[in-house]
């Protein structure tokens, strides 16, 4: 496998996870950019543990995910039922805070970051294959859990909160608990993505976790369609991939292209490319075929 292909596939998986981590709390209408901070924290945590204490990959992965969940849970106690703007600002605060700490504290490598994170397997090719398998297994698991959520009573309750909180409350839904659950889950996914990122890139630096990352993930989510999980899944590989095949001169303009795309989609088709009726139709087509057989 060529290095380019490996990076393309691996980073696509990271973007899918990160877009989903924004999708999950957006089910109740909250833009929880906190997950980018979780990603940074867990990425640095993974790098330090793997280098200084020689923790094995699996342990780091589990601990990094739990670390994300823990931070997310603590914060969600305060903003579980906060309005969207307040959640956005809390996210920004944590990103600034994380960035400032990793830039200024000597132990975290300062502006240059941390290098030479160990491979999981000694042979380069094996290492790459393993990381890809793990990354896509995580995508699969997360996607599976999200589908289960979306097709359950919890998912319906979340949709009701998105439309109107008073409405959801009238069915007996605890809005704060639901927000806390989703934020914690999203932060765990962010942490998971951070650990994977560390091991895939084998280096971490403050410039990796910028506001660009928010912009890219948001574009993937809103262009793909925020009403289902499939939007981000489809948009991530395409949006991340197409700048790579553009002529060299245009490649560096990808953020401009993302921004324009985001605006155009929101103005023309606010619910994004993939909508729930579309998914339903495909599902019924598939199950129809199964019945015939």
């Amino acid at each position: 496998m060529s290095l380019t292909l490996f990076y393309y596939l691996a980073i696509t998986a990271i973007y899918i996870l990160m877009s989903w981590s924004i999708y999950i709390p957006y089910r109740v209408g909250q833009l929880h950019f906190m997950t980018v901070a979780n990603m940074a924290v867990s990425a640095y945590f993974a790098a330090l543990m793997a280098i200084n204490f020689a923790w094995p990959f699996w342990l780091v992965l589990i601990a990094g995910t739990l670390l994300g969940a823990l931070i997310g849970f603590l914060v969600s106690n305060a903003i579980g039922d906060a309005p969207c703007f307040a959640v956005v600002i809390v996210g920004f605060t944590f990103i600034y805070l994380t960035k400032t700490i990793i830039e200024n504290v000597e132990a975290f490598g300062g502006p240059l970051g941390i290098f030479s994170i160990p491979k999981v397997l000694s042979a380069s090719a094996d290492n790459r294959t393993l990381l890809l398998i793990v990354a896509y297994a995580l995508v699969l698991i997360t996607g599976f859990l999200i589908t289960r959520f979306d097709h359950s009573r919890l998912g319906r309750a979340a949709s009701a909160i998105f439309i109107d909180r008073d409405l959801a409350v009238s069915f007996g839904v605890d809005v704060k608990k639901m927000g806390m659950f989703l934020q914690t889950w999203a932060s765990a996914v962010g942490g998971m993505a951070g650990v994977m990122y560390s091991f895939i890139m084998r280096s971490v630096s403050p410039n990796h976790f910028t506001f660009h990352l928010i912009g890219i993930c948001m574009t993937m989510l809103f262009v793909g369609g925020y009403t289902t999980m499939w939007g981000a899944l489809l948009a991530a590989p395409i949006l991340w991939g197409f700048p790579l095949i553009l002529p060299e001169a245009l490649q560096s303009w990808n953020i401009v292209i993302y921004g324009v795309l985001l605006i155009v989609v929101l103005v023309i088709k606010p619910e994004g490319i993939i909508t729930r009726p579309m998914v339903k139709k495909i599902e019924s087509l598939l199950s129809g075929k199964r019945k015939k057989v």
Partner: protein, 295 residues
Amino acid sequence: MEILIAQIFNGLSIGSIYVLLVTGFNLLLLVAMIIHFSFPVVVVFSMYISWVVMTLTGSVTLGVVGGIASAIIVNMITAPMFQHIMKDRGSVDINATMVISMGMGMVITDILSHTFNQGFPIAFPDALTGNDQGALISVGLVSISRGQVLTLVIGVLFVAFLFWLLYKTRAGRAFRAIAEDPNGAKLVGIPLLKTGFQSYALTGILGGVTAVLMAVLLGSASAGLGDQLGHKVLAVSIIAGLGNLTGGLIIGLLLGILEAIIQGYLAGSWSNAIAFIVMLVVILAKPKGVFGSKL
């Protein structure tokens, strides 16, 4: 002690920039009902245009005019986009305007970081900033530059002008009526669309003036400046209470002073983070803002 006095003065001048930006943000929020998160990015864009005009023509006056004009033009061009998603006001999620505005910010910031000056930070000529003339007042460690005084004076005058416009004129009355009750304003015969466009033009002028003042005060600009200011403006307006003009004024100045004091005593980029932590605490303690939301 002298450091403290010097930094308070520094803080007041940077604070008056925050106040101008927050006032523009709040005006758009109140009258046009949009969360124009990237308003400060437009302002930084105008700084760049002003710089381009200055370097091309060598004239400071033309640069100032160009900067102000560009802010008005950008605001007026992007207005229809926001008006489109606000067509049936109320039924549209106000978050959508925030996301669109973020998209706009992404585009402008990236264009700035690619095209002008090959993406390097720009520096404004001394003829504008007056840095070559040295400090205006200098007592011991306290030294106050021409730019600082200019920013503070014009900032205060401009905010005073805005308040006069809002509270004493026909257009301002219409703005306030729409802010309080769009439907009621419609019923007394205030044209919503037209007044909305007026508010875009007004915030455009406000943005242009702010851009020039920032050029004078900071003397330089970089592509990332807009994002940073954007986050701060959103934070200040949330803490003051969304749409609360007087609250924005007070919190904006306080934030400027707080940051300046931290900068006086702590090295590195800590001032940003500490300012945000203070804001975080306030948000968690008072989710509706210190002075109450006007939304």
